[in-house]
């Protein structure tokens, strides 16, 4: 084995890290014969010993190690202890947030229910909208969605604006109705007006009494009560007056159980079509 090759393996050979027993024996034989390589091997030994002596354990004092232990244990205890909840998290607790949302919804729903009746047109104009619930009456009349009546300062009953607008071909929002619907709308209004006149003179009878709710008042009684109410509003006997002072317009909504009745002062000539 040549010196250059031996010098290459010497760093491992001096600490027994060389693998292969044959190679170690070859280096050993070479070192026994070569003075130069033996000197280099000695230098490796010396530097290794010097290095090990210089970098022995640092030998820090006990307080140094105690400081490390205490710091680590304190950190572990801090990590294991859950932090107390902050004011923010207490205020915005999830369960509390859900409860607050639910309470807000309930309050809003209650307010909406209470405020809805106050929006109906109950004012000094004596104009009233009466919804008659008649479970037995079929929805044979045309369905007209009525816009809300506006409040006026007059004490007299006037024809509600929506029908004036419908007669003019406009809706409550000011939009014009399609022309093809105008004849049908006028016919419906005429039918309603005629029906009102006949309803004020004679009580309306239901076509059948089959399937009547036993707890509900009789249909005749209901209609009679309505007629009385209408007559009272008109200021004269509903059953006896041939020419009532008010006009009654009944509108069947999409719900067959709800019918809307509009009362308005009678025109001089009811047969005259609305303009």
């Amino acid at each position: 084995m040549k010196c250059t090759r031996v010098e290459k393996f010497l760093p491992l050979y001096i600490a027994g890290d060389l693998t292969g027993r044959r190679r170690s024996r070859a280096i050993e034989n070479h070192l026994a014969a070569c003075e130069k390589c033996r000197r280099v091997a000695g230098e490796y030994h010396a530097s290794r010993e010097l290095f090990r002596a210089a970098t022995l354990s640092p030998d820090f004092d006990g307080a140094f190690y105690e400081e490390i232990r205490n710091s680590v244990l304190a950190q572990i205890r801090r990590d294991r202890t859950p932090a107390p909840p902050s004011v923010f998290s207490r205020l915005f607790d999830v369960r509390l947030a859900y409860a607050a949302s639910l309470a807000s919804l309930l309050i809003a729903a209650t307010l909406a229910l209470h405020s809805y009746p106050s929006r109906t047109p109950e004012d000094g104009t004596r104009r009233r909208m009466i919804a008659i619930v008649n479970r037995e009456r079929p929805a044979t009349q045309p369905t007209i969605k009525t816009p809300r009546a506006t409040r006026t300062g007059s004490d007299e009953l006037t024809t509600p604006r929506p029908f004036d607008e419908l007669a003019r071909g406009t809706t409550g929002t000011g939009r014009r109705a399609p022309k093809r619907l105008l004849p049908k709308l006028n016919a419906n209004i005429e039918d309603a007006r005629n029906g009102l006149l006949s309803g004020l003179n004679t009580t309306r009878r239901t076509p059948s009494t089959a399937g009547r709710n036993p707890l509900a008042p009789p249909a005749d009684a209901t209609d009679r009560a309505n007629a009385k109410e209408i007559a009272a509003l008109a200021g004269s006997g509903g059953e006896t007056s041939a020419q009532p002072e008010v006009s009654r317009i009944e509108i069947q909504t999409s719900d067959p159980n709800i019918r809307i009745i509009w009362l308005s002062p009678n025109r001089e000539d009811p047969a005259q079509p609305l303009k």
């Binding site: 001096i14 010396a46 290794r48 010097l50 090990r52 210089a54 030998d59 400081e67 490390i68 572990i76």
Partner: protein, 223 residues
Amino acid sequence: MTTGTAHFAAMMAGDFQTPGDAREAEGREHFALLIARARAGDASAFERIMLETERKVVAVAWRMLGNREDARDAAQEVFLRVYKYLDRYKPEQDFNGWLYRITINVCRDAARKRGSRLDGSQFAATPREDERAAPEAASTGMNAEEHAIRAQQRALLMCALRTLPEKERAALVLRDLEGLTTEEVARVLRSRPVTVRSQISSARAKLKIHCERLLRSKGGRRV
């Protein structure tokens, strides 16, 4: 009885244990027990683990990082990681190897954070070493100048160690200073034994050059 039977079966199978292996297995069981207790929340068991391993951890950290403060911070981080990853430790695993690996990784992270700050001052002797060396020097007839020369040698050798590439330094520290075998070093560094041998060989050659310079300067002073 069962243990005796198992031991006899192992003997018959030719699976003999050397005294070193027996000590290693005993130490492994000892640490496995302590770790099981620490996992269960026994703080005293973890403190016991720290007491038994802190000098080893601090020594490696000091050799890798070169100064007291960095070694202390690294040791704290090592034990915090050990505690954090106690669940990942397997009882059949070598605890010392696991601990060395964590220590080397922490030191690498710390060195990266610190950057390439490199000067000889950080390898100065610790105050306790100086205190201990002074009476020793007096008792052995070593004068103050020789004592200063020795401290300087140590600082220069540590500086030389710091100049080594990180992997070579880790391999040399574990092999020459901690006394691990090449195979153990390879396991700790997650490398191959042949790679570790190459790294150790290169590191020893570089250190020899440093030491020769040092010895030459020492010889020149003496003359």
